[in-house]
Symmetry: C2
Subunit: 175 residues, 2 copies
C-alpha cells in the first residue's frame, strides 16, 4: 500500500490570536500545539487484593506499577484505563470512580488514576510487562514502585477503602 | 533575533514497540503522538452568583461559556483553570474541587471543570470575550450556552450546592 508522505518546515512563532510561541509550518501554516498528555491507569482490586504489574520496558524496567499508559484518541478516560489494564495484565476491569488526578507540570503530564474492580481472576502478562499479579494489602511492594504517582494512587486507594463517595486526590507536591 | 527553523518529512507508520500508526519523520525519526488534549475551566461563584463570559471568537461566537481553555505545559490542571479564568474574565479565583471530567472522544478532548470561588468582585473582559458577568442562579442563560460541557458543568454545580464532598461527574452521553 502506498503510504502518503508530507513535509513540514517548522519555525517557532506566536500565531495570530495566541499569546505563546508554537511550532508553525512555514509552508502550510499548520500549528503544532504541544500540550500536556494524559496518562490513564487503574488501581484494580479483587477480594481485597490489588493488581500490579512489573515493567519490561524503560523507564524503570523491573519496577512495579499500577497498570496505565497514555490515553489515545477515540476513547474516554475510563475506556483508556480499562484498555491499558487489559493490555498490560490481561485483566478485565470495571471502573468505579476517580481516585487521583495528578498534574506533573515538569514533564507535561496529567495522570488520571481510577478505582476499579477486576471482573474475573484472569491475568495474562502483556508485552510491556514481565509479571502481573495480585498483592495482599500488607505485602504491596511500596519500596519497589516505578513512579511517584504509583505510590500516591496506592496510598489514596488504601485511604479510600470502605468509602463509597470520594473526591479525587491531587499531587501531594508541586514539581 | 534569529529563529531556528527545521523541517520534517512525515509518514504514517507503526513505531517499534507500539501498536498504532503515528506520524513519523523519515529524516530524524521524530514521532508525532496525537493524543487527547485537556481543556480546563471553572464554575466560579461569588455570593451565590455564577461567573460566565460571552465568546468573541469562533466557534460559537456570542454564546455564553464557563471560563476555560486548553491546558498548557508547565502548569497544573488547577493552575490552568485559574489562568484561563483570569485571562477571559479578569477574575481571581480559588479552586475548590473537581466538578466534572468530561471525555469527548469524537474531538479528542478531556474537559476538567473545577468548582471555584471568586476571591474579589473584580471583573475585566479579556480579548477572547465580549462580556463577562455574574448571574443569579435563576437567570443563567442555559439556552444560550456555547458547548454541551458548559450545560453539564452548570447543572453539576447546581446539584453540588451545599455539598462539601463531591465526586466529579462524567459526560452524560458517549459521543
Amino acid at each position: 500500500m502506498d503510504t502518503p508522505e508530507f513535509s513540514a518546515r517548522f519555525r517557532r512563532e506566536i500565531p495570530d490570536g495566541d499569546n505563546r510561541e508554537r511550532m508553525v509550518c512555514q509552508d502550510c501554516g499548520f500549528i503544532h500545539y504541544d500540550n500536556p498528555r494524559i496518562v490513564v491507569g487503574a488501581v484494580a482490586s479483587l477480594d481485597g487484593q490489588i493488581l500490579l504489574c512489573r515493567r519490561a520496558i524503560e523507564p524503570r524496567t523491573g519496577y512495579w506499577t499500577v497498570p496505565g499508559g497514555f490515553m489515545e484518541n477515540n476513547e474516554t478516560a475510563e475506556e483508556g484505563a480499562i484498555r491499558e489494564t487489559l493490555e498490560e495484565t490481561g485483566a478485565s476491569i470495571e471502573v468505579r470512580d476517580l481516585l487521583g488526578i495528578y498534574s506533573l507540570p515538569h514533564i507535561g503530564q496529567v495522570h488520571l488514576v481510577y478505582r476499579a474492580r477486576m471482573l474475573a481472576p484472569h491475568i495474562e502478562v502483556g508485552p510491556e510487562c514481565v509479571e502481573a499479579r495480585l498483592f495482599d494489602v500488607d505485602e504491596l511492594p511500596m519500596g519497589n514502585l516505578a513512579f511517584p504517582t504509583n505510590t500516591w494512587a496506592l496510598e489514596h486507594f488504601l485511604e479510600a477503602r470502605g468509602k463509597d463517595l470520594i473526591a479525587p486526590r491531587t499531587s501531594p507536591v508541586r514539581f
